[in-house]
Subunit: 122 residues, 2 copies
């Protein structure tokens, strides 16, 4: 089983990848057949190719992630609150993500919780 | 469908119920056959009677909830980060909860994400 420390490090790498604008660094965190549902309620991106395309596009917006408080770890899942900042001051999205991990430490499913009420300054 | 405003108010009522030490106020937020998995990975409490017993016991610890940042709303689900404080200074648990709502505005499933790494001062 993936340890809490490994899960926290994966979340930190995810945030760092956005800072660097490095989609490959994100793709490397996911299992080959992982699913990304961002936001929850939209069709999931399935597998490395779709995940790479999604994060490449996301990073092109200039989005930077800022963790709000500690990563919560329960069983095989990490939950974390963060806000997304952009070049435009005051533009922000508040999000909570869930990362579920497989036994090899790769993320097998990601869900992002946010909606219109969590988007400011657009 | 439950509106984002209704979901945010339900979360606020949940926090307020802990402040008052009022388990019935929490039970009233849940559907009759709702499930409460707290923390994730433990057997769920199912239905009003089990949920009442669980929250009565939880509130007897003197636990008070403090929201950390805005409630995130995606589709039928509210996600929120908070910390639990106790009478003993420095004792704290950092948690993220998910509340999934039915069409009548009642919570049909609750999941609490935290683990040993999120408990301080015990």
């Amino acid at each position: 089983m993936t340890s809490p420390d490994q899960m926290v490090r994966a979340v930190q790498s995810y945030v760092e990848a956005f800072d660097k604008g490095d989609p490959e660094m994100v793709v490397a965190l996911f299992a080959a057949d992982a699913t990304v549902e961002d936001p929850v309620g939209t069709p999931p991106h399935v597998g490395h190719e779709a995940i790479r395309a999604f994060y490449t596009k996301s990073m092109q917006t200039g989005a930077k992630l800022h963790l709000d408080g500690p990563v919560r770890v329960a069983g095989d899942t990490a939950a974390f609150a963060f806000h997304v900042g952009f070049a435009k001051p005051g533009m922000q999205v508040d999000v909570i993500d869930l990362f579920r991990f497989g036994p090899d430490g790769k993320v097998v499913s990601m869900q992002a919780f946010f909606g219109p009420t969590n988007m400011k300054g657009f």
